[in-house]
């Protein structure tokens, strides 16, 4: 232990002794401005007010105008307008409503969540009997005639 203490005393001795090294002059003044508002002197700012003519040229040039769409066509099923690459919103809404009702009935049948049986489901409308292929499947009854878009087979 005494050797270690001796080494610590000797090793950090400086090569240059005496007043060769001065302590760095500590600058107390801050180089940054004190208030936030003074720093805006070094920011970019507009020199002149942009006239309304210049503003109109910028706002109304063809790049900024809205382009007319050329991909709108009537739906072949219902006649409402649709975009070529998108499903018809009216037909989709009609299917969505029916499936929401069917899902509600399934939920009522199951009772609690995550209670679905490990078999397929078949939706039967008014006056329909389960076929031979639907032997072991779960049946959901709907009290209305079958919609034309919901084909059975």
């Amino acid at each position: 232990v005494s050797y270690l203490l001796f080494m610590c005393a000797v090793v950090p001795a400086l090569a240059v002794q005496g007043p060769g090294i001065f302590p760095q002059p500590h600058r107390n003044e801050e180089t940054e401005e004190h208030s936030f508002l003074d720093s805006i002197f070094w920011m970019a700012a507009p020199k002149k007010r942009r006239t309304i003519e210049i503003n109109r040229c910028r706002r109304r040039n063809p790049q900024k105008l809205i382009e007319t769409k050329t991909n709108i066509e009537p739906c072949s099923e219902c006649g409402n307008l649709k975009q070529k690459h998108v499903l018809c919103s009216f037909c989709y809404e009609k299917v969505r409503r029916e499936t929401a009702i069917i899902r509600g009935q399934i939920q009522a049948q199951e009772g609690k969540p995550l209670n679905n049986p490990a078999v397929e489901t078949v939706v039967l409308y008014e006056g329909e009997k389960p076929a031979d292929a639907d032997a072991g499947k779960r049946i959901v009854e709907r009290k209305r005639p079958r919609p034309s878009w919901f084909t059975q087979y």
């Binding site: 936030f36 109304r60 105008l65 809205i66 007319t68 709108i72 307008l81």
Partner: protein
């Protein structure tokens, strides 16, 4: 809103409604409602025979009331936020929309020369 109004200027009403239906701007739904109401009004009380025989003659938007609110920024700064309202005006006219003939450079030059020729010296002999 102005961009939508500019887009439908000169279109047939069916074309205008189709374009507005598939536009994503908030004003598109509002203008579409206005056009449908105007179409209905035209058929009911303005003696228009066919509801699709209309075209948009004039369509423009104007500045409405601006409500001012404070928007708080950092460092104790604040900005004045404008809650913007606007008015929308549309005029439907019965018939086929008029086609604008495209003015070529030659036509413009001819008009300019004609303007120069029309100049006279007033109060002269």
């Amino acid at each position: 809103m102005w961009y939508l109004a500019k887009m439908i200027r000169g279109m047939t009403i069916e074309q205008a409604i189709a374009q507005l239906e598939f536009n994503d701007k908030k004003g598109a739904a509002i203008i579409k409602e206005v056009l449908l109401e105007a179409q209905e009004m035209a058929v009911k009380s303005h003696n228009v025979e066919y509801k699709s025989n209309l075209y948009v003659a004039e369509s423009f938007s104007g500045k409405g009331q601006y409500l001012k609110r404070i928007r708080i920024h950092g460092r104790g700064m604040f900005g004045i936020m404008d809650k913007v309202y606007c008015h929308y005006f549309v005029k439907l006219v019965e018939g086929v929309p008029p086609t604008e003939k495209p003015r070529t450079g030659f036509d413009q030059a001819k008009e300019y020369v004609q303007q120069l020729r029309n100049r006279t010296i007033i109060h002269s002999l």
